[in-house]
Homo-oligomer: 492 residues x 4
């Protein structure tokens, strides 16, 4: 279709079977600035550092003291925005967003920030995560006469803000956020203030920083770092932080629930140079690697991590085991998210294009292959196959997290539980399916130990079905929940 | 800015001073199809025939029995859509829209059709005209918690539909349209029906046609003609027509007011091959030309009309006067609507590029120049100047309509009355301002005579300030309304 | 295909059967500037005035005293260039080109100006017309080791310049142009000079003008006019004009042959406000219309011209006959050159979209329809059909030129003579084919009389096969040349 | 500038000071296919695997038995081509190219393959490397009447082919390649054959592979691997390989000179999973790392490689030294080649965005930082600075190659020698300039030892000025060549 199209309908969307991208789709990235003359440019740079959290769309909204403007589009930050134009965009407060669609289809109207003209004024909302009661609220609001133009959860929050009856944006947000449930972080720009909030269980991360006199907000600390800022603190569970000419203020929109940070932020989503709730992601992943050695030792010649997510864990595994940490697979940096192959043959070819085995490294070797998770199993089977074709004598697959058995309702796109191989198969069956010589998963207790939390301080629901916030009604029935609970280790 | 941008903020918009386009901006064009397997393609072709009514954006929404999809973008129909893709778009009901922004800024989010998910289902709304109570309704609705994503009047109607409490789209539309006021025509596509309606005074035109078994709806009959259809009838004042599998049904959403079709549809907007309320536009314009001869005779050598809008009137003038009808100005067909000149020097150059005088025709001649209206006077002064530079001995300007003194509140973008030269100056002063040897305007009674209506059967408010629907509160105060009322004829 | 593609291969090209555009394709337009600080901007504006001569590609090359830069692309001037960027392009000499491909396929590499690095320096060549010996020269040059990157005649001239052995561009051009034959006009920008030349018979037009101290060159005087310049003189037959810091110089690259300006420049190609060799096109066309009345009188109620090319002739016809000159067909201004219909049904629909009959004008009337030529006959048949469907009682077709029987070898794209209906059919057979009540063509002697030339002062080869320059070998054999020579008038 | 522009002039090009990309620019990548029904698709996939060799433009030419078509554009393979369109492109022979401009400016006309119509037919030429006598040949050919449309060396070869007088493409190529000098690899597609050749010293690599019955040619074996092909052999020095319906043939266009493969292919350019002349790049780099430990031992806590080029060497360093191999810097995968910062402040910010130090890893540690080379020194200074800001106690910089002192004339874009820090400064001065605690370069003998060649079997000219092919006249004078020859190790 030609340029400039605004397509609020139903665009073609690849099914999860067709994607040759990562099996676990990232969520979204949020960035906010208050009190800096180049708020748009800082947001643009900050979004570059959060691009790993969402590559489908990018958007920035800026308050210039008179208007709240927004520009957004489909694609990477560098595709949607021209640096020179962003640098020339005046305004001292801004909010930016990168998106991978966890709820709401991959539709341009769902690109964020969402700009709405509400009773308390014009707002730009950026959201990461998922509301468990979005469907119920939509039905309720539509019945009360609300009209929806997107299919994103963010619009539900906008309606609740508008209907709160409050004429101050901060008051209205307090009111609105107190009514919704789920795992979420939000950054909202109004005509003069910047707001940020985290759900009562703190499932999704959100951090506050400073750059000189300006305030920064980011999904991950690497974005604060990357533009030269200093980390200040995380947003608290159920907290709404307001930043304005008056400085910074805190309020609770809901009482904190049990702490339940998503464990997958450590395992897979966050960048290694981010600190999530004070713990460095790289160090945590190294520890995950180390613990796999102790729990499931194996005779082997070398260890290699699936790039890029498991490179840190492989370092830990190598240090603990004394095996050399090698480059067994070369990742092609130029195969983008849009590389969709329509045929089975094409998808196998695509895996090879993306990950070429280093024959001279693995030939004749007993290889420990470290990966972060197995979702559907197809990618793991391809990678094990690549290593075998390259001459690996044995392939021992080590997964830094426990079996992924249950769907996520807080922002990770794991489709239906029917697609989760661990919901249907035992570890031994999975080992056979991916054709590894041995397969071992991290245990839950090793996982929480490595992360340095008690089990009741994290969201581990994808592993154990213990949902800190009730899932949407009817959502967890079906075979997914009742997957066979085999042992975590299976070997030949 | 790069491609694919969705820009709901405030894009740069040329002020009326900067535009080198026509002084009276066209409104919008509507097209609808029900019951044809190529509904999208027919809409695309129909919009080509209505392109003169709006060149800023184009959009089509299609119902394929399962989804209601919409594609729209900034630019001409042929720029926004690829014919082959439209031809491959399945669906038997569609609504199309071309837009010039009369209310709501020239912002991509204001492109129509507007697709909304409401209580009675998903709707695509296309709108021509203006609501006089839109501002009041927006304030009221926002206070009740409605959120707005566009600045267009259409979104007000969508909210009233959604809040009607009715769960059938037709019922909800009846309810919503009964609550708003102004001059408007709307075409709405729902999940299975096509609706069209005209305001209670019938200010904006809307016609129904057939193509085989399919139903067509169009702002002008030329669009029905152009795709080979047959005109059936006009939509009536205050009527909501519903078209569905059941056939066609009529209902009144409001009692008809006094008939008040916009006279400017005949004078300027409509295409000469359209019949507006049964009267052919070309024939009406010829009659307007003829009556100028009788009322304001002048000795001259030839008559020429400003292309393209006054070509029909010049034919009438020539026939009645016996003067030769000549081509005095060549219009460059390739200067698009976006040819905006930032400087005064540039704007004069642009007028010359657009309209080059035919020196060999006008040199030494006494020229009668026929035009449809004078809004700010700048374009008229430029054109008279071009003829004089090309050697015209005398230039007698004849305007086919009365002095344009009052702003329109029903869909014509005449900016503030402060810009209307006839609101501030007498005819003699205008003559001096545009540097014509003589200047004559049509009188109101000749106008209504030529159109074949009584004065109380038309909207003539831009000439006489007699508004059939009360303007927005406070809108008509100021100098504009009290313009000096000089005679309609002034000569040297 | 995505943006930024440079495609030197073989793009899809619609066959002449698929085009719904004009049957006679325009040629090319040339524009040059020397000695003005805004040479790029003037070229851009001048090309707008020449856009009717070519809509496929547009290009401008500018000499800024240091570099000779060129930008070009597929599409209209307003699509290829952004006004603001052109205005910021420094340089005091420039050459511009708009193209319709008469030789060389519709391939982006054939877009002009063609920039080449030759022995006498870097040159930008712009060319209108066709070389009759291009094929022979290509074969010869390739055998001598020349490589070609385009399929355009212009590249042949570039090779001859480069191989002339001269190290001054002007000397080399004199040498090169003296070796080629055909009908052509060229404008060439070098590193410091601007050159313009016309073939020895003067088949293609080229005019010189001034704007203050700057020199202008243009295919038509309307472009000089449109930017406020003054016409100075035409380039002479076989003349090479050099413009530099030294002023203007003239040289003959070849002795003038018999004068042979293309008659179709008056009949169809040029804009009515241009003077071609001192004669105004509009006035000539009016005279063509007048002479048709005298030669082939017919009882009728009104006359109408096919827009836009025959509007002038219809005025002349009306004046001479006393019949009213009416608007019988409304041309849709928004149907672009790219509106290609793949199917027969689609093409008929496209004609209707482009030209809608004014039913209220033609119904029940005996219509004289004036057109400039009949090439294949399909368009004429469609238009006559439209008038009949709209109720015309009789349609009398009057063609302002004689039957078009022979292919052009000097720059008009008439494809093979097999497609020329007049090469195969008598006038009576053509009348039947186009379904007119009567059909009359202008006679050759009336044509030359109206144009004010003797027959041996014009190129009339498309009418009488008398080629002023020998066509390419073997090119005129076949049925085309020996078309049946029926009388010029045939009636029912 | 708008879409579809073909710009043969002089586009803006960032100076090397402005680029924030790698200091050593990659060269070009070549790929060819013969005898496969999906030749275009295979080329597209192969180019993805070679994208690291050039990101400025991409192009593919295909022979379909009738036409030789070419599509190319500015940008990455995935930006220039749509997979679906490539997959639908018929033809059994193809050549593809990705480009970083080593000679010829970054101008779209220089995109390759270059398609030329020559005496021996139409050819598509793709070229990697640089001719040392290109300038002389251009002057000579221009004097003989050749015209040039690009500034690339490839066009020189095309002219020599065309002027060879041979009418078979293979014969003409043999003749042409025998006349030029430099370091180059070429792949040429004709109307029916595929040719590949390597310069007489074998400076640039080129390998042959098979995929079923089809033949493949690629700059690196990783491209053959990535599409599932098998490596067959390298093209030999001075060899022209012809592939056609007849099978594969070999001929020498020149006698082999001394072997002189570019050492930088191992050090920096090639992908780790490629085998260059039979040696695996990853293993060679590991050995380079190992040898640095032995030659320049240092007390430290960890080793880290600059991603991505020095990751392999860091593994070797770690293995040999026993130090842990850590991730000290996180590379942002989304900062593209076009991220150009106009200001000094901006460039420092850009380095931070691209490479964020892992504070938790380096804080308080004595870090060995392994990099492949120091060109201007600015990037090294930035990286050392980042590690110090992150708290590194000491930074010991280890370079896997000797000081880069002399410009390359065979395809690496190192600008003038004035920019080479090692041409002007001693190792101690460089250490101070980059602010490292110690700095050590590999010695030449360790380099050749690690690569497994004798010094006279490689091109080491950038280190020792020993050029296997004479540089262009006058090119090596100036300060660059006589840089101070300090020791290779300097420490605090």
């Amino acid at each position: 279709m030609p340029h400039g199209l605004i397509v609020p309908g139903r665009p073609p969307r690849p099914s999860s079977q067709q994607r040759s991208g990562p099996e676990l789709q990232e969520e979204c990235g949020l960035f906010g600035v208050f009190g800096h003359p180049q708020a748009a440019l800082l947001s643009y740079l900050g979004l570059f550092a959060l691009q790993h959290r969402g590559q489908e769309s990018a958007g920035i909204a800026v308050w210039d003291g008179e208007y709240l403007d927004c520009e957004k589009g489909m694609g990477l930050v560098g595709e949607v925005f021209e640096r020179a134009e962003v640098a020339a965009w005046p305004g001292s407060a801004a909010v930016g967003h990168v998106r991978y669609p966890t709820c709401g289809s991959s539709d341009p109207v769902n690109a964020q920030p969402l700009v709405v003209r509400t009773f308390p004024g014009t707002l730009a909302l950026a959201h990461n995560g998922e509301l468990t009661d979005a469907g119920r609220w939509r039905a309720d609001l539509e019945q009360k006469g609300a009209i929806f133009q997107t299919t994103s959860d963010t619009e539900v929050i906008a309606h609740l803000v508008s209907r709160s009856g409050r004429n101050e944006a901060g008051e209205a947000l307090l009111d609105a956020l107190g009514q919704v449930h789920g795992g979420f972080a939000v950054v909202v720009l109004s005509e003069g203030e910047l707001f940020c909030a985290r759900d009562p269980n703190g499932i999704r991360p959100l951090s506050i920083g400073r750059l000189g006199d300006a305030w920064l907000v980011a999904s991950e600390t690497c974005a604060i770092d990357s533009i030269g800022g200093e980390f200040v603190r995380d947003v608290e569970q159920g907290e709404l932080v307001s930043i304005g000419e008056y400085g910074i203020r805190s309020a609770q929109f809901a009482a904190p629930g049990r702490p339940a940070l998503c464990a997958f932020e450590y395992i897979y989503f966050a960048r290694p140079d981010s600190d999530v709730q004070g713990k460095n992601v790289h160090q945590v992943r190294k520890e995950l690697g180390r613990r796999l050695v102790r729990a499931f030792p194996v005779d082997a010649d070398l260890v290699t991590g699936v790039p890029d997510s498991s490179v840190s864990a492989a370092i830990g595994y190598a240090e603990e085991s004394g095996l050399p940490n090698e480059i067994g697979l070369i990742k092609n940096r130029y195969i983008g998210r849009t590389f969709i192959e329509p045929t089975q043959e094409g998808r196998e070819l695509a895996v090879r294009l993306k990950l070429n085995p280093l024959r001279q490294v693995v030939k004749g070797q007993r290889v420990v292959l470290v990966d972060d998770s197995i979702v559907r199993g197809t990618t793991s089977r391809h990678i094990v196959g690549l290593l075998r074709q390259a001459g690996a004598a044995e392939v021992h697959l080590r997964i830094t997290s426990p079996p992924y058995r249950c769907p996520c309702f807080y922002g990770i796109d794991t489709s239906s539980s029917a697609e989760l191989i661990a919901a249907r198969k035992s570890v031994e069956e999975i080992r056979q399916a991916v054709d590894a010589d041995t397969l071992a998963y991290q245990t839950l207790s090793e996982l929480t130990g490595a992360l340095g939390y008690r089990a009741d301080q994290l969201c581990l629901s994808c592993f154990n079905g213990d949902y800190p916030v009730p899932p949407p009604e009817g959502a967890t029935s079906g075979e997914g929940r009742g997957g066979r609970q085999g042992g975590l280790f299976s070997g030949s």
